[in-house]
C-alpha cells in the first residue's frame, strides 16, 4: 500500500513541477453507477442478494439457489468538486462523490438452520450502504479546444463514509409467530481505491460548460466494527447476545474474542457509470507565463 501511495505522490509532484497556474472551476453532476467487480457471497458464505432454499430435511443442504452479484458502490450519484488547471491541458481536481440512493440487496432463505441448528427458520437479510461518500482527488488532462474539449481524470478514491446497514429478520418455523430481528451498522476500515473518467465538455458561455463522462471506481472496503442497533424477539428487546448497543470487532489477524465471524472480509464498492453536469469557471488566475 505504501508503494502505491508513494508512486502516486511522486507522480503528482512531477506533474506539478512542469506546470503553470491558470484557472479554477467548480462543477456539479448527477449520474448512475453500475456494479463492477462484484461479489456473490458474503463472509459467511451466504449470497448478498437472491434466494436460497434448503432441503426440508434440515440438514443445511441447498435445494435451490438464485444469486445476484452485488457492489455497494452502485446507484444514483451526485458529484461536486473543484478543478484547478495549471495550463489549458493539465490540472488537478477534488470531487466529493455521494451515493444519493444505493441498491438494497435482499437475500431470502427458506428452511435455514444457519442461525440456530436446533431451529429451522425462514430468514430475510437486507443490506445496503448508508449514504456512501468518497473523496476523489485526481489529475486532469484536457484538450485545448475552444468550445468542445475532451478530458480524462485519474485519481484515488478515499472512502469518507462507507457504512453498511445490515438487517436480519428470522421467522422460526417450530414456534409459530416466533420472530427475531437483528440490525447492525457495520463501520469499515480506511482503504485506498482508484478512480478514472473520460469525458466531453461543451462551453456554452465564457464561464459556463456542460459535460458528460464515463467513470470507474475500483474499491473494496473491510469491516472494522459493527454496532448492534436492534435485537428483538417478537418485537421486544432482548438481552440475549448480541445485545443492542453491543459491538463486534473485525480483524485479519490475532485471536478472535468470540467466533469466526470476527474475521474481517471484503465488501465490494467498485462501480462503473456515467455522470452529466455543468461546470462554472471561477475566473482566471494571474499566470506565471503567457501560454500563447
Amino acid at each position: 500500500m505504501m508503494k502505491k501511495i508513494l508512486f502516486t505522490t511522486c507522480f503528482l509532484s512531477f506533474l506539478a513541477t512542469v506546470s503553470m497556474a491558470q484557472e479554477w472551476s467548480f462543477r456539479l453532476g448527477l449520474g448512475y453507477a453500475f456494479p463492477t467487480a462484484s461479489q456473490t457471497l458474503d463472509a459467511s458464505g451466504l449470497p448478498y442478494s437472491g434466494n436460497v432454499t434448503y432441503t426440508s430435511a434440515n440438514t443445511g443442504d441447498i435445494q435451490s439457489i438464485g444469486m445476484k452479484k452485488a457492489s455497494f458502490g452502485s446507484g444514483f450519484k451526485a458529484v461536486g468538486g473543484i478543478q484547478y488547471m495549471f495550463t489549458k491541458n493539465i490540472g488537478i481536481a477534488a470531487d466529493i462523490n455521494l451515493g444519493v440512493t444505493t441498491p438494497k440487496y435482499v437475500l431470502q432463505t427458506t428452511n435455514d438452520v444457519s442461525v440456530n441448528k436446533n431451529e429451522v427458520s425462514d430468514n430475510t437479510y437486507t443490506r445496503y450502504a448508508k449514504l456512501p461518500v468518497l473523496l476523489i482527488p485526481s489529475f486532469v488532462l484536457q484538450s485545448s479546444g475552444d468550445k468542445v474539449n475532451v478530458y480524462a481524470r485519474a485519481g484515488i478514491a478515499l472512502p469518507l463514509s462507507t457504512q453498511i446497514i445490515s438487517e436480519e429478520h428470522d421467522n422460526y418455523q417450530n414456534v409459530a409467530g416466533d420472530e427475531e430481528q437483528l440490525n447492525k451498522t457495520v463501520k469499515t476500515q480506511f482503504n485506498l481505491g482508484f478512480s478514472g473518467a473520460l469525458g466531453l465538455s461543451y462551453r456554452v458561455s465564457e464561464n459556463f460548460s456542460f459535460w458528460v463522462e464515463g467513470n470507474l471506481v475500483a474499491l473494496s472496503v473491510y469491516p472494522k466494527e459493527a454496532e448492534i442497533t436492534v435485537h428483538t424477539i417478537n418485537g421486544t428487546a432482548t438481552t440475549a447476545p448480541p445485545a443492542t448497543g453491543g459491538k463486534v470487532s473485525y480483524v485479519t489477524s490475532g485471536t478472535p474474542s468470540s467466533n469466526y465471524d470476527n474475521v474481517s472480509f471484503s465488501i465490494p464498492f467498485s462501480s462503473v457509470g456515467f455522470l452529466v453536469g455543468a461546470s462554472y469557471n471561477l475566473g482566471k488566475r494571474k499566470t506565471v507565463h503567457t501560454q500563447e
Partner: protein, 302 residues
C-alpha cells in the same frame, strides 16, 4: 531482477527501433511556441510494449471454498476455538505483467488502442489450517491457489496532451475482456484417517472488467517514446467449474477413472439434483482479479 528485466527490455527495444528511425515530426504552423508544438503521433498508428508490476487492489479475503486465500489459522485440540490466525487480502492478477498494444491516434489528443496484457508471474497464495474440523475430524489443511497465465484483451480510449517539449501526459480508459482466468488449485489434507491430496483447475464464466491508466511519454527518438504509467484494473471472475487433474491418498496416486465425478460446476442459480450427497451445481463465488500497478515501456510509430 524485475528492475533489470525492465531496463534490458527498454534498452534493447530502443536500440532496434532507433536504427530505423525515419519518421518526421509534424510541424505545427499555427503554434507560435516551438516548445509546445504537438509531437508526431497525430493521425498515426503506434505500437506499445511494456513491462510492469501489479499489486492487490480491492482484494478479497475468502476464496470459493469459504476459506481465506492467504494466511494461516490454528485451532485448539478441540477444533472449536481459534488460537491464532492471520489472513491477507488477495487478488489473483498480481505480480509481474507484460503488455503488448496497437493503437491509432485520430488527432493530437484522441485515440483508440487494443492491448493484450499477460500476467507472466502471478502471485501464488497459500492457506495453512491446523486442527480444522472437516468431515468430523481434526485436519491439517494446505491450499495453494495461483492464476494460470492470465490473459486479458483491453480495448481503450486514449487521451493525451503535451506537457513540455518532448513530454506528453496521457490517460486511458477501457474495457477488460478476460481471455484466460483459470486458477490452479492444490489441496493437501491430513487427518487421523489418513492423507489425501489433489490438484484441480478452476475456470470462470466471461465477465467484463474495466481498466484505466495515467502516464507520461518521453520522445527519445523521432519514432520512439519511453512511457511510464500507473494503471488500475477492476475485474472479478465467477467460477464456472472445477476440474480434478490429479488425486492421491496416503501418497498413492488414484487414477481419475476410478473417481465418480471429476468436475464440479458452479452457478449463480440452479437446483441441486441430489443435495444429500453434495452433487449438482454449487453456488459460485467471485474470484478477485483487480489490481493497481505501474508499467514502463516503449511506444513506436508504425
Amino acid at each position: 531482477m524485475k528492475k533489470l528485466l525492465t531496463i534490458l527490455l527498454a534498452c534493447s527495444s530502443y536500440t532496434v527501433f532507433a536504427q530505423h528511425a525515419e519518421f518526421a515530426r509534424v510541424s505545427n504552423s499555427h503554434s507560435r511556441n516551438r516548445e509546445k508544438q504537438p509531437l508526431t503521433d497525430v493521425t498515426t498508428w503506434y505500437g506499445r510494449v511494456g513491462l510492469g508490476y501489479a499489486f492487490t487492489q480491492a482484494g478479497q479475503v475468502n476464496s470459493l471454498y469459504g476459506i481465506p486465500y492467504s494466511g494461516n489459522v490454528s485451532y485448539d485440540n478441540t477444533g472449536a476455538t481459534i488460537n491464532s490466525f492471520s489472513y491477507k487480502k488477495a487478488s489473483l492478477n498480481t505480480g509481474v505483467n507484460a503488455s503488448l498494444a496497437m493503437g491509432r491516434m485520430f488527432g493530437p489528443h484522441i485515440g483508440l488502442e487494443l492491448a493484450a496484457q499477460f500476467d507472466v508471474a502471478p502471485t501464488k497464495y497459500t492457506f495453512n489450517g491446523h486442527n480444522l474440523t472437516l468431515g468430523g475430524n481434526l485436519s491439517d489443511l494446505t491450499i495453494t491457489q495461483q492464476a494460470k497465465s492470465p490473459i486479458f484483451l483491453i480495448p481503450a480510449a486514449v487521451f493525451q496532451t503535451q506537457v513540455a517539449n518532448k513530454l506528453q501526459a496521457y490517460a486511458r480508459l477501457g474495457l477488460v475482456l478476460p481471455i484466460n482466468t483459470k486458477v490452479n488449485v492444490s489441496v493437501n489434507n491430513t487427518d487421523p484417517t489418513g492423507n489425501y491430496a489433489y490438484t484441480a483447475v478452476q475456470s470462470s464464466s466471461f465477465s467484463l472488467g474495466f481498466n484505466g491508466a495515467l502516464g507520461l511519454k518521453y520522445e527519445a527518438a523521432a519514432n520512439l517514446k519511453i512511457f511510464a504509467e500507473f494503471n488500475v484494473m477492476s475485474l472479478s471472475a465467477y467460477t464456472k467449474k472445477e476440474e480434478l487433474k490429479s488425486y492421491s491418498e496416503n501418497g498413492q496416486p488414484i487414477p481419475l477413472g476410478q473417481i465418480s465425478s471429476t468436475t464440479t460446476t458452479y452457478t449463480l442459480s440452479g437446483s441441486n439434483s441430489n443435495p444429500n450427497n453434495g452433487t449438482g451445481p454449487q453456488a459460485t463465488s467471485s474470484t478477485p482479479f483487480s489490481n493497481a500497478g505501474f508499467m514502463i515501456g516503449i511506444t513506436m510509430r508504425l
